[in-house]
Symmetry: C2
Subunit: 345 residues, 2 copies
């Protein structure tokens, strides 16, 4: 199962804003299409955004000049344009910078050859992402026991990556190994990626699940109904501080209080070792209507109500039991161990 | 401002399920109307339910037999019928039992005289509720300082009581005293009493506010943006354990972790000294569609998604800084001090 397809130099994607009600595939025909799709969350999930942006650049690049000087300028502008779509997830920047490096590496070649190399690199990023997901699943499943009740937040599966997912990859692996696991799904207000997307994925994969409102998770933990929490990440600083979907920090504090295991699952591309701690991670604030009008349909506040809508929060490393990556499980002390595992590769 | 009116032996109420979009007043013409209004949350809020149920009994009683034997049976059945509407809030039981006591006290009189006495008692409960709210506001305001950012959950104002409210009464008093306070309003999923009702009340009273999703409160506390939390209660056990709207416990844990003051505000009628601890408070579970279909309009999960929907949770006394009542502020040790303040009156 997948939510993005690059085929005959054309890019197709599942419009996630319509799920779970409609499975609507669209084509990204231009840089602008790509940028809008990311900004409007038709495509979301840190790793998927990286892969999608790389392909969107390939689509946009089709019409760029064959004069190398002009091409380089157009390419650079396109990268900056795509980078402007969302500020928090680092995979977006990572993927685009990887394509820029290819352009530099091939600068002695013709523009046609450069374009070909860029497309190859985008495909390589895509293929790698699928493998990274598999590896995270393999490492993470070691932390799950038979009959576990697993809680997760937001969406981290095949709608958030081009493979099986990050946190959900662990859950899918655990479901394959032990058929009797059960998943509590935080609905994940305001955009309800848990209720809309994760529940949809779990239905597709036939994994037993229960949707809860975000403010019910603590009550479940109080009752001893949660064995472990797996969440994804949008950016991880050098000290392990983790930016992820708003509500993750709330969960982490409750996990700490209730002594519930709290794991972050993310590929190496989510780490930003240039950032010392979570304080330096920019937090995107989004439209107030995302809170005021649920799923674009139900107005739940007085008109023009005052609203605060940060899209992410930062969970300090001290609340994280371990970080599961494609390169292995990283435990505290994070600054040292992240450098060892991530920087050395 | 008020949400209920008993006038010429007729009972009118504001249908809260339509707010904030429509201000729709209805008449309760029968016991069945009353029971449905409570069950469907057209009327909600622990103290308001008590007053409303008392009046609904007065309405139902109009058609009861003038034969005392039959009247007593009808009255008793009506009390049980109204009690069946919601299980968690104790004020409902308290108000109905108070009317039953009047019936017993007047059993030597004619049915007409009993009916008159019951209506007088219902009016007394109503009048007292207004005074209790005022007193809670007066005690609670002492805990607020100039410029405070106050966070609240669910709705506890003139839509939840027949007066100014419990937690919101404190906030309204604080706003009167210091014009510069500001209120963060938890939207309070699944039924959004914060986003729909509290925001509406704060607009009406011109109190500065900001609506947030429930999973954002922890992030606000992490940033030092919350000085104090005031919440209401549906039932308080003899040891101080407090049942309140689902999500309250989540907040209390976060308040504890972030060293934010956490106050419960409730009148004496919310205490259930017959219950030793929170473990014995029955927790109502409500329809799954309340989670699946937001505000009856936006389906946010796959069809027939598995859902868990407890309407309340229990916050252990150890997480509560103090309980503000109409009889004063109660601090730990709660078992001793609750008995002293509540039982002695």
């Amino acid at each position: 199962m997948y939510s993005l397809e690059f085929c005959n130099n054309r890019l197709y994607y599942l419009d996630q804003t319509q799920l779970p009600l409609k499975e609507n595939w669209r084509e990204c025909k231009s840089l602008k299409d790509g940028c809008c799709a990311i900004r409007e969350l038709q495509v979301r999930g840190a790793p998927l955004i990286g892969v999608f942006a790389a392909y969107a650049l390939c689509i946009g690049m089709k019409n760029f000049s064959l004069s190398q000087k002009i091409f380089l300028k157009q390419f650079h502008n396109a990268v900056n344009y795509l980078k402007s779509s969302r500020p928090t997830a680092v995979n977006l920047f990572w993927a685009l910078e990887r394509l820029e490096k290819v352009v530099i590496r091939y600068s002695a070649n013709t523009v046609s050859q450069i374009k070909k190399a860029v497309v190859q690199e985008a495909k390589a990023i895509h293929k790698e992402d699928i493998q990274l997901c598999r590896r995270m699943g393999e490492y993470g499943v070691k932390l799950v026991k038979k009959g576990y009740n697993i809680l997760t937040h937001c969406n981290t599966g095949f709608l958030a990556t081009s493979g099986e997912g990050t946190a959900l990859s662990v859950i899918f692996s655990a479901h394959k190994k032990y058929r009797d696991i059960h998943v509590y799904v935080d609905e994940s207000r305001p955009l309800l990626q848990g209720a809309r997307l994760t529940a949809w994925e779990l239905v597709k994969k036939k994994v037993p699940y229960t949707v809860i409102c975000d403010d019910m998770a603590a009550y479940l933990m109080q009752q001893g109904k949660v064995d472990v929490i797996f969440v994804g990440a949008d950016r991880i600083a050098a000290n392990g501080d983790t930016a992820n979907k708003i509500g993750t920090y709330n969960l982490a504090v409750n996990a700490f209080y209730h002594k519930v295991l709290f794991y972050v699952v993310a590929p190496f591309s989510t780490f930003d070792l240039g950032i010392s701690s979570g304080k330096d991670i920019p937090i995107e604030e989004r439209s107030h209507d995302e809170v005021r009008i649920v799923f674009g349909k139900a107005q739940i506040t007085p008109k023009n109500a005052h609203v605060y809508n940060p899209a992410f929060d930062v969970t300090p490393a001290k609340l994280i039991t371990a970080i599961i990556t494609d390169k292995g499980i990283i435990r505290p002390p994070y600054r040292k161990n992240i450098r060892k595992v991530i920087a050395s590769n």
